[in-house]
Amino acid sequence: MREVTIGIAGAAGDGLDKTGDALAKTAARLGLFVYAYNSYQSVIRGGHIWLRVRLGQEKVTSHGDRLHALIALNQDSIERHAPEVEPGGVVLFNSDKLRSNAPLRENVQVAPLPIGELTRSFGRIQPVMQNTVALGALLFLLDLDFEVTASVLADTFAHKGKDVIEQNLALARAGYDYARGRLAPLGCQWSFTRKRRPFVTGNEAFALGAVAAGCKFYSAYPMTPASSILHWMAAHAERCGIVVKQCEDELAVVNMAIGAGFAGVRAMCATSGGGFALMTEAIGQAGMIEAPVVIVEVQRGGPSTGIPTKTEQGDLNQVLGASQGDFPRIIIAPVDTRDCFESAVEAFNLAEKYQLPVILISDLLLSEHPETLEPDSLRAAVPIERGELVSEWNGENGPYKRFAFTSSGVSPRALPGTPNTVHVAASDEHDEEGILISDVFTNTAVRRKIAEKRMKKLALALRDLPAPRLEGPADAEVTLIGWGSTHGVIQEALQQLTASGIRANQLHFKYLLPFHSREASALLERAKRTICIEGNASGQFARHLRAETGYSVHDRILKYDGEPFEPRQIAEQVRAILNGQPRSLDVTPAEAREIAYHYIRTHLSEDLRPGQIEKTNGSGEAIWRIEIVHRDSGQKQGELRVGVETGATYAWQPLR
């Protein structure tokens, strides 16, 4: 086995992220590739956290769709995830507190860890530390190098001092030794190159890209999943010579960034959908006063406050429609973590060359999941293009006109502090010099030409941007279309399809505005069958594509339940579509069970769980009838009825 996925499940506050991090860094330092995704909730303590860490000898581009090892930190986690563990896999848990009560697939190793016994010698330990024991056991099961983990733990707890390090090492060791005696390794065949690769999130890549591009001003208001950019920036501001300003709201955030951009400093800000909504008015201002600014919009589950810790690609309409009137804006959707770095650098250059707002649209998945990158993908030496910047002006070439009408639409830009180029940048309409034409000097001719001057810049910018290209066989029977963060997972789905004998290729979009309509149309016309895959409920990109090209995709695969796509889900739906059976919106048995769990959690007691499920017909719509049974005894306690079409939960009938 040259690829393995480990799942760690527990509650917020259980500190499982630290455990996962140690595991991931160990693998990374051994030269393996790592991709991790943490599915968490908008709660500080409690609830359910589901962290998946995927290790591979080769590059892995999603958290995948398999589960080989599970570390369960509470009973609920065993029930939810143990059944997913693949044959040959293993389930680890603290046997002092938990037991394996869930149905397992064939030859899945059950590994109860007697934490109390194993840690007795350490006296009272914090609950978090049991994770370290499990980690130790896992190292053995996965044939990973304990010494490397030791070094990782040493670095991780460096600031906590020698004792803490010692204790953690000992705990891991205890788990390792316990496993060696009693458990069978999963049979991983690694060849450790020990090439060290940074383990990076998209938000870290954005921040590093900004630093490399010479960003000197970052303003923000905390908002998941953009906050980690603020945290990184704040932590590194002093060393990087960046002013990091947390503001009172997003209105201040974006207007400050625009002010800084006007004054000549490379400025960036980031937020999520709700904060971006508040920024829209000012984005139009940046377009009007032709101030460069970079805005990162990290999408999360919407609408409104929505599901703040879940991922979605639902804000495309918003960035396209941000602010009133027509003005030029550039919208870029980075396609993976590496690309977050590249796109940030690109964004700053485009913003200054064309003197306009550039929006980087990411999502929770891309911004928050960490993965290993090739070391050279994060580099200090990047191109820095500031466009037509006036360093000095002597009357010779006439008076300076900030908004001079040029055939490119780009006017030489002078910064405050420069003599002879004094001007006012107004959000009111103005002439070449910046004099208002919104009041006494209203002038239809000047208005028409300056409006055209601004819009012209987009056509020019488009030439700077690489056109979309097909990946995979040109004569494929199906073309998978996507945008932004889904590039990797669609790639994997494509490989699965190819493996199962379906010739598929991929057309993925990074540059959303301006749009390569001609090039895209050319590719699309040649496509036999197109399926647009995106993480929202209405197919926003498919709509955008049609708006820009007139081309209508044949089918769409949409996901909007908060969880990211997995390769197999895509591959299966593609097959279904090709077999002429597109997915129905009915509630599946698995979903009915989920809905039953929800009712149990909100209305009944924790020691119940869903049992048998069967379809019956009810009044109005077909019904899933779900037995509710006792967790341990499995004894039936009552019945729940869930609508197959609507998903409605009908009356709960307890047994008398």
Partner: protein
């Protein structure tokens, strides 16, 4: 510190004539801002005048200086960004009561507690002028406007008191009828290290027929002329800020030396941001990446 060379008011003569109504109080403010700039001797290219939207906010278009005529209510935020990007600039904000105390009040209060080195001149005509005469946050109770035909029922904002309890370190009030006095207050604010508020009675001759020149002339008196008024005592400043009737004080209510936001910002040790080289130091960058290994 270099000795200051005062500059004549013509230095700041704008490109076009103001389009304010004849008699508008804002003419006086425009003059005072120019005089103040001359007093502190800031060159036009080192002065940035930032405004929002409103009659008053048209001011940057009428003075020879860099400027941003930004969005309604956002001037303070835009100005903060400019100042932080280039601390070598003198940044003055000019706007209206609706712009600053209505839609913009959040930025106003938070800028004061930050004590950024900005000078904020509010042309307070107690009305929404440009939108043709609705009630503003400083419109007096009972006053009839287009939006309050039965008389305004909301308590007016007290900008002086708000500034005092929000940490502004220079709090003053001027009157368009007294441009030279106002110019001194504005110049004082520009010299002051930290956030300076100069609230100005700037009558709207077209839409505010209550708070007129005569109305103010009858009432205003100068704090400087009060025998024992002490502008370093925040409590007596607060006392005075509540005075609103037959006598209304103008002048400097309060001044205090406090560290500015800029003082506390390590990034400025290397000088203004705008003068820093863009490319990142490779060794620094390497260390940033190493944290991720």
């Amino acid at each position: 510190m270099a000795t200051i060379v005062e500059l004549p008011i013509e230095t700041y003569a704008g490109p076009v004539e103001p389009d304010w109504c004849p008699g508008c109080g804002d003419f006086g403010v425009l003059k005072a801002v120019k005089m103040a700039a001359g007093k502190v001797g800031v060159a036009p290219e080192d002065l940035v005048v930032v405004s929002g939207i409103g009659c008053s906010s048209n001011l940057p278009g009428f003075i020879h200086a860099y400027g941003v005529h930004s969005l309604h209510g956002r001037a303070v935020a835009v100005a903060s960004g400019i100042k932080l990007a280039n601390t070598a600039l003198t940044v003055v904000i000019t706007g209206g009561d609706g712009d600053g105390y209505g839609i913009g009040i959040g930025h106003f209060i938070h800028a004061m507690r930050r004590n950024l080195d900005l000078t904020y001149v509010v042309m307070n005509n107690q009305i929404y002028g440009l939108t043709t005469g609705q009630a503003s946050p400083t419109t007096m109770k009972e006053m009839r406007t287009k939006s309050t035909p039965r008389g305004n029922v909301e308590l007016p904002i007290n900008p002086i008191a708000l500034a005092l309890v929000s940490g502004a370190t220079y709090v003053a009030r001027g009157f368009s009828g007294e441009p030279t006095h106002m110019a001194d207050l504005i110049a004082g604010g520009m010299r002051h290290k930290g956030f300076a508020l100069i609230d100005v009675f700037s009558p709207c001759v077209t839409y505010n027929h209550l708070n007129t020149y005569p109305w103010f002339k009858k009432r205003v008196y100068k704090l400087e002329e009060e025998p024992d008024y002490n502008p370093t005592d925040v409590r007596s400043a607060l006392e005075k800020s509540f005075e609103w009737g037959d006598r209304i004080p103008i002048g400097l209510f309060y001044q205090d030396e406090q560290p500015t936001y800029e003082d506390s910002e390590p990034a400025f040790r290397r000088g203004p941001l705008v003068r820093q080289p863009l490319p990142v130091d490779p060794t620094l960058f390497k260390s940033l990446v190493e944290e991720l290994l």
